[in-house]
């Protein structure tokens, strides 16, 4: 699946977003499953991690650890994520283990333009999501 990630890397690295910020990416091949990290220069706190499988390219950005949710507000935040899920363009909410995240999945055959759009949109969605969920966070 490394060749898929290399294609994503080519599509994303050193690209400039609509609001003029730079994207950079690099591939980590040291782990068992290769992974690409994409960072938007002004949002380095929320890197987008890209992995590839036979069918799909998975782009995932961690929002927060569940420990960061205010006492007793987790049910509300879960409800909010489900309710907002469909309204969020190109991305969806997810939870893996204790981490909440926003992710997008693309077909491995996706063209460069769509890959870039996915990543840019995902990054915007992270900020948007954190803004709406901020009242529930510590």
């Amino acid at each position: 699946m490394l060749e898929v990630l290399e294609r994503v890397h080519q599509a994303v690295n050193k690209q400039i977003t609509i609001d003029g910020t730079h994207l950079r990416s690099n591939i980590d091949v040291t782990s068992e499953t290769p992974m690409l990290t994409v960072i938007r220069e002004d949002r380095e706190e929320f890197p987008i991690l890209v992995t590839a499988s036979i069918d799909q390219i998975l782009c995932n950005a961690v929002l927060f650890d569940e420990k960061q949710i205010k006492e007793g507000r987790q049910i509300e935040i879960n409800e909010m994520m489900l309710q907002l899920n469909m309204a969020m363009p190109l991305s969806s909410f997810a939870k893996t283990g204790q981490y909440y995240s926003v992710f997008g999945a693309l077909a491995t055959e996706s063209i460069d333009k769509n890959i870039l759009l996915e990543i840019e949109m995902l990054s915007d969605n992270v900020i948007d999501a954190l803004e709406v969920m901020n009242p529930f966070l510590i």
Partner: protein, 231 residues
């Protein structure tokens, strides 16, 4: 069991104690074993298919031979009856009865071979689909697991020397401040550009009413109307 059901079972099994391992190595090993089993079943089915097809061919030839025999006896008995050879005709009729039973049995066997072949072909096709589905599952599980591990790494990287994770709230605040700074910088850059190009003086003169704002369509039209009236 559906794929999501499997994932959910694995999640409930290991998710909470190990704090977020998506599917353990054991889970992947089980899926890999399932693939091996499906592939073995497929090899078995393919071998049976070759065997049955060989038998089917043999039986087809046998049926053909029996039919030919029957046709020969059929011609013979007609001739014998023409020749009024009652004795030999009776003997032949008995032979025909025997061969007819033989043919019927052989055709039944041939039919069952044909059915077996169809069944085996379906089995092979299905196990082929199953292997592909399982391979997809492993691939998805592995990439999702990698995403999860990456999430932990990221969390650790940004958590600094303290054990508590950096709050998303703080990060958001910082990003917003950074964005505001960027906007301010762009605004002042634009301001500077305006001043150096003299646009700023013009703006001041306009607001002081010294010069009129840029000509618009209406004012040009008025000018022409006046010129026309004067002519």
């Amino acid at each position: 069991m559906g794929f999501l059901t499997k994932v959910w079972t694995a999640l409930r099994g290991v998710g909470h104690e190990t704090e977020g391992i998506f599917i353990d190595a054991q889970g992947i090993r089980i899926l890999e074993q399932e693939i091996r089993d499906a592939k073995e079943a497929q090899i078995g089915a393919k071998e049976s298919l070759t065997d049955v097809m060989a038998e089917q061919l043999k039986m087809e030839r046998q049926v053909e031979l029996t039919r030919k025999n029957l046709a020969e006896y059929d011609q013979a008995i007609r001739k014998l009856l023409e020749q009024d050879n009652e004795a030999l005709a009776t003997e032949t009729a008995e032979k025909i009865a025997e061969v007819e039973v033989e043919l019927e049995t052989e055709e039944a066997v041939l039919n069952s071979y044909n059915e077996q072949i169809a069944d085996l072909k379906v089995t092979i096709l299905e196990s082929d689909k199953q292997v592909k589905a399982l391979e997809r599952e492993i691939s998805i599980v592995k990439s999702t697991e990698a995403a999860q591990k990456a999430a932990e790494l990221t969390a650790k990287r940004f958590s600094g020397s303290h054990s508590s994770l950096q709050s998303a709230s703080d990060s958001l605040q910082r990003i917003k401040e950074r964005q505001q700074k960027r906007k301010d910088k762009m605004l002042s850059a634009r301001q500077l550009l305006k001043e150096t190009s003299g646009a700023d003086l013009k703006d001041k003169l306009i607001s002081a009413g010294v010069i009129h704002s840029q000509a618009n369509g209406q004012s040009v039209l008025e000018r022409y109307k006046v010129a026309k009236d004067q002519a």
